[in-house]
C-alpha cells in the first residue's frame, strides 16, 4: 500500500469538486482519508481539504493522482529529503534518518528514489548521481551526503497479498503446538518456487544442526541445489568437520549417541587439521576433508560466510574474525536472496535478520521458542517460527523436497 497526501482548495464544495475527487478515488479502487477540511463560511470564501490517498501499488497511485491532478488536486508540496554531510568517517550527522527494513524511497531533486539494499538501523547516503543507498556506520565516509530528518522519506509498509499466497501460512504467532509437517511441506513448495524464479535461498545454521545429527540432511539440501548461500559461525563448521573426520560432534558419536573415548579433543584436532591445510577449501582440495556440509559447499560452489565470535576455539582459518568485515561479506551475499532459512542458531540468525530487508521471507527453526520470538520482535517481518529440533526439521524438509 502506498499513499500520498494531496491538497484541494478553492470553491470545491459548491462545485462538487471535492465529492467528485472522493468518488474518483473510489471508482479507481483507491482509498482516502480526509486529514483536514476547512469549509469557507461565505460563498466567496475558498475551502480547503487535505486527503491521504492510498492505492495498492505505486503505479496505481500514480494513475489516481494523475486523474486527480486534472481536478485541481495538488500533491502536498513534497519536500526533498534534507541532506547533510557526514562530519567524519563512520559518523552520521546528528539528526540522520535511521532506517527500517521496509521498502523506502527518498525524494532527491524532486524525484523519488528507491533506497538500495535497505536494511534496518542504518543511514541513507545519497550519491552525486542521486542514487540512494542504505549505509551502515562502518561504510559512511566524511563528506557523504546523508539523509537527515524524516522529510522526503517515504516508507512503504508491506502488504498482505490479496490472493492466497504460498507464504500466507506464515506470519502467525510462534507456537510449539502446531502441526509442523504441513508447514514443512508448504515451505518445500516455497523453496521450489524460489528456485524456479532463479532467486536465492539463504541458510543460516548453528552447531545444533550437527549435534542433533542433522548435518547429513543439510548436506543433501546443498548437494540438491536448495541452498545458495550459507551463513554460520566457527561452531557449525568445526563440528561438521569433526563429524566428517572422526564421526563425532563435540566428542559424541553421531551414529550411536554415546561419548567416544578421548572424544573431547576431536573438535580441536579437526580445527588443527584444517589450519594445517590452510583452510577448508585447501582441505577439500587435498582430500583431507571428504564429506560434510562444508565439503558440499566447496564442491557445489555455494558461497559461505563464517562469522567469528569471542568464544571461538581455533578458529578455523576461514572464519572472519573482524565482525565488521563479516557483516560486509554477509551483506554482499544477500543480493538476490528471497528466502532465509535459519536453523538452530541464535546469534547468526539475529545478525542476519538485522541485515535482511523486510521483503525477504524468513523461516526460523529452533527448539527454543524464545529465539524464534526474539527474531520476530526485532522486526523481521514476513517470517514464521517453527519450534522444532533441527534434525527432525531438516529430515522432514529433505523428505518433502525428495532429496
Amino acid at each position: 500500500m502506498t499513499s500520498e497526501v494531496i491538497r484541494v482548495s478553492g470553491h470545491i464544495i459548491d462545485s462538487l469538486i471535492l465529492p467528485k475527487i472522493l468518488d474518483e478515488i473510489m471508482d479507481l479502487n483507491g482509498t482516502f482519508e480526509i486529514l483536514h477540511i476547512a469549509i469557507g463560511t461565505r460563498k466567496t470564501d475558498p475551502s480547503q481539504a487535505r486527503l491521504r490517498v492510498s492505492a495498492a501499488s505505486a503505479r496505481h497511485l500514480e494513475q489516481i493522482l494523475q486523474r486527480l491532478s486534472r481536478l485541481g488536486a495538488v500533491r502536498e508540496a513534497a519536500q526533498d529529503a534534507r541532506l547533510r554531510r557526514a562530519p567524519r568517517d563512520g559518523v552520521f550527522p546528528a539528526d540522520f534518518y535511521s532506517t527500517t527494513n521496509l521498502p523506502t524511497d527518498v525524494r532527491v531533486r524532486g524525484r523519488w528514489r528507491t533506497v538500495e539494499r535497505i536494511e534496518m538501523d542504518c543511514g541513507i547516503v545519497v550519491a552525486a548521481s542521486g542514487r540512494a543507498r542504505c549505509t551502515p556506520f562502518a561504510d559512511v565516509r566524511k563528506g557523504d551526503r546523508v539523509v537527515c530528518g524524516a522529510d522526503g522519506v517515504r516508507v512503504s509498509p508491506l502488504e498482505r497479498g490479496r490472493s492466497p499466497q504460498v507464504f500466507q501460512f506464515m506470519g502467525s504467532a510462534v507456537s510449539s503446538e502446531k502441526p509442523k509437517l504441513q508447514l514443512i511441506y508448504r515451505l518445500a513448495e516455497e523453496m521450489r518456487a524460489v528456485r524456479r524464479a532463479r532467486r536465492k535461498i539463504l541458510v543460516v545454521a548453528g552447531p545444533a544442526v550437527i549435534h542433533t545429527a542433522g548435518g547429513p540432511y543439510l548436506e543433501r539440501l546443498i548437494r540438491a541445489g536448495f541452498v545458495n548461500v550459507l551463513f554460520a559461525g566457527n561452531g557449525l563448521a568445526t563440528h561438521d568437520i569433526e563429524s566428517a573426520l572422526f564421526g563425532t560432534s563435540l566428542g559424541v558419536r553421531l551414529d550411536h549417541g554415546v561419548a567416544a573415548q578421548d572424544g573431547h579433543d576431536h573438535h580441536m584436532r579437526a580445527i588443527n587439521a584444517i589450519r594445517a591445510c590452510g583452510g577448508i577449501r585447501q582441505a577439500v582440495r587435498r582430500r583431507v576433508l571428504r564429506r560434510g556440509i562444508m565439503h558440499a559447499c566447496v564442491v557445489r560452489r555455494v558461497p559461505f560466510v563464517l562469522g567469528g565470535s569471542v568464544r571461538d576455539d581455533g578458529p578455523l582459518p576461514d572464519v572472519v574474525t573482524d565482525t565488521l568485515e563479516a557483516q560486509t561479506l554477509m551483506r554482499r551475499r544477500l543480493h538476490g536472496v528471497a528466502l532465509a532459512l535459519m536453523v538452530g542458531s541464535t546469534l547468526h540468525a539475529i545478525a542476519t535478520g538485522n541485515l535482511l530487508p523486510a521483503t525477504v521471507r524468513t523461516v526460523c527453526v529452533d527448539i527454543n521458542p524464545a529465539v524464534v520470538t526474539k527474531l520476530a520482535d526485532r522486526g523481521t517481518f514476513q517470517g514464521i517460527g517453527i519450534v522444532s529440533d533441527a534434525e527432525a526439521f531438516l529430515r522432514e524438509l529433505c523428505r518433502a523436497l525428495r532429496v
Partner: protein, 263 residues
C-alpha cells in the same frame, strides 16, 4: 472585436477544424461585418477593434483573449502554442488602452471568457480541454467572487461558451451532455431555469450567443423551436450567418470580448 483579415484554418486544434475545409476569406469577412453591424447599429454597442495581425488567424476569436473585470484584464495562457502567439498582441493592446494586466502562473492554462462566464454574481468556469481547474481559485481571489469550476466532457464543446450561455439572472441556455454529472448538478443548482438545447442546436453553436438585455445574437442555424422558446421568454433573436467561423469551432460569442459588464 478583431477583423478577420488574416482569418484562416491554418492548424487543427479542435474537432471542428480541418485543414481540408478552408474558410472562404471574402465570405468570412462579410459574415463578420454583418455581426459587427448588428451589434453596432441594431444594438448600438460601442465596439473597440483589436488590430488584426498575420500569423495569428484565431485572433478574431477575441473572447479567448482573457477575462475583463473593470480596468483589469486577466490574460489568457493558451493551451496550444499556435494560439500562444496571440498573448503578446493582446497584452500590448490592453496595456496601451490603460488596463492593468494580470498574468496567471505559466503552468496553468486559461482561455479567458471562452471558459469563464458570469451568471449573476457567480463565475462559472469550464475546465479540462483548454483551461486548468486550479485557475478557478486564482480567479476567485482576483475577482472576489464565487467561481464554480465545472468539468467539460465532450471535446466538440471544448470551451464553456460553446455549451453554456447565461441569458438573465434566472435562466441560461445549455447543452447538458457537454458536462459530466457533477457539472450538470452544479449548473442545475446555480441556474433556476436552465434551458436545455438539443444536440442539433448545440452543434449549430446555439449556446455561443451574445446576450445583451433581451437581445440574443446567434448563428443563423438555430432551430425554429429554440427561437420560439426564446421568444416566449421575451428574448429577441438576431440571427447572423457565421458558417465560416463554425469551421474553426466558434460563432457569435467567440468573436467578441466583453469590456464592460452588461447594463
Amino acid at each position: 472585436m478583431c477583423r478577420p483579415t488574416h482569418y484562416a484554418i491554418s492548424y487543427e486544434i479542435n474537432p471542428w477544424m480541418s485543414l481540408a475545409r478552408q474558410a472562404h476569406p471574402a465570405r468570412a469577412r462579410a459574415q463578420w461585418q454583418r455581426l459587427h453591424d448588428v451589434l453596432a447599429r441594431a444594438l448600438r454597442l460601442r465596439i473597440r477593434l483589436l488590430p488584426p495581425s498575420p500569423g495569428v488567424p484565431d485572433l478574431v476569436f477575441t473572447a479567448n483573449a482573457g477575462l475583463v473585470a473593470g480596468r483589469t484584464l486577466i490574460r489568457s495562457n493558451f493551451r496550444y502554442p499556435q494560439r500562444q502567439r496571440e498573448q503578446p498582441l493582446v497584452e500590448r493592446y490592453f496595456r496601451k488602452a490603460g488596463y492593468r494586466i494580470v498574468r496567471l502562473p505559466a503552468r496553468y492554462d486559461f482561455e479567458g471568457e471562452g471558459d469563464a462566464l458570469w451568471f449573476g454574481r457567480t463565475l462559472v468556469f469550464g475546465f479540462r480541454f483548454r483551461s486548468d481547474e486550479p485557475v478557478h481559485e486564482l480567479l476567485a481571489s482576483h475577482l472576489g467572487a464565487r467561481v464554480l469550476p465545472v468539468e467539460l466532457a465532450d471535446r466538440r464543446f471544448y470551451h464553456l461558451d460553446t455549451c453554456f450561455c447565461p441569458l438573465d439572472e434566472r435562466s441560461a441556455l445549455w447543452y447538458p451532455r457537454a458536462f459530466d454529472r457533477y457539472g450538470r448538478r452544479v449548473i442545475e443548482h446555480v441556474v433556476p431555469n436552465p434551458i436545455a438545447v438539443s444536440q442539433a442546436d448545440a452543434l449549430q453553436f446555439a449556446c455561443n450567443a451574445i446576450v445583451l438585455g433581451r437581445a440574443v445574437v446567434a448563428h443563423a442555424g438555430l432551430s425554429p423551436g429554440l427561437r420560439r422558446r426564446l421568444a416566449r421568454r421575451g428574448f429577441t433573436v438576431y440571427p447572423v450567418d457565421l458558417s465560416e467561423f463554425l469551421k474553426a469551432g466558434g460563432a457569435a460569442k467567440c468573436l467578441v470580448l466583453r469590456l464592460s459588464p452588461p447594463p
